[in-house]
């Protein structure tokens, strides 16, 4: 599956992630699923209730509000996004252990290098596989 993300959404999450450093940032992505491809139409910048550089938990109240907003807008929930402030853009063992939706796209933004790097993954059966990501 390919995940297509608009540059403005990418930039918004980079800004969000930088604004909460040294902690991890998190959010949700929503949009359309067409012919097995995911098109992100909206990104929700949410609160990491862990307030930690190494962990994140999405605020359930904000998650609930986002789910309702998606329903009003007719958008499909596509997955979530979080940042790794100082490690590569790949799922950690904790990311894999806590991923419960095999259909979802899990986007990870790494801020470990000078240039931010975002990658997308699917996680199922205790394993992660990279999905193609297009930022347009």
């Amino acid at each position: 599956m390919t995940v297509t993300l608009k540059k403005m959404h990418f930039d918004a999450f980079v800004n969000h992630a930088c604004s909460v450093l040294p902690n991890e940032a998190c959010g949700l992505i929503a949009g359309r699923l067409e012919s097995g491809a995911a098109f992100v139409e909206k990104i929700y910048l949410l609160t990491n209730t862990d307030q930690s550089p190494e962990h994140f938990s999405i605020d359930p109240k904000e998650q609930l509000a986002a789910v309702k907003d998606m329903r009003v807008l007719g958008l499909a929930p596509l997955g979530n996004v979080h940042s790794h402030p100082s490690s590569p853009a790949r799922p950690s063992q904790e990311d894999i252990r806590l991923a419960h939706d095999p259909k979802a796209s899990y986007l990870i933004l790494s801020l470990a290098q000078e240039e931010p790097v975002m990658k997308a993954f699917e996680i199922a059966g205790g394993a992660a596989a990279e999905r193609e990501i297009k930022i347009i």
Partner: protein, 68 residues
């Protein structure tokens, strides 16, 4: 009674608990599900005893977290 579950109205038997609704709706990995009833989150230990009533609005949310 009529409930709104994940945005869809459906009819259920009276006296339904949150735990039974999770079972009826075949909610996947229920151990990681948070349930809101009328925008109030039900504590996970109360699913068996929380009885739903006509008109309630229920959402199932999956815990989303991780770490680097």
């Amino acid at each position: 009674m009529r409930l709104t579950v994940a945005g869809t109205q459906k009819d259920y038997e009276d006296g339904l608990t949150v735990a039974k609704l999770i079972e009826i709706e075949n909610v996947e990995t229920p151990a990681y599900v948070t349930v809101s009833v009328n925008d109030e989150f039900a504590a996970s230990g109360t699913f068996e005893t929380t009885v739903l009533k006509d008109g309630d609005i229920i959402e199932f949310l999956y815990f989303m977290g991780g770490g680097q």
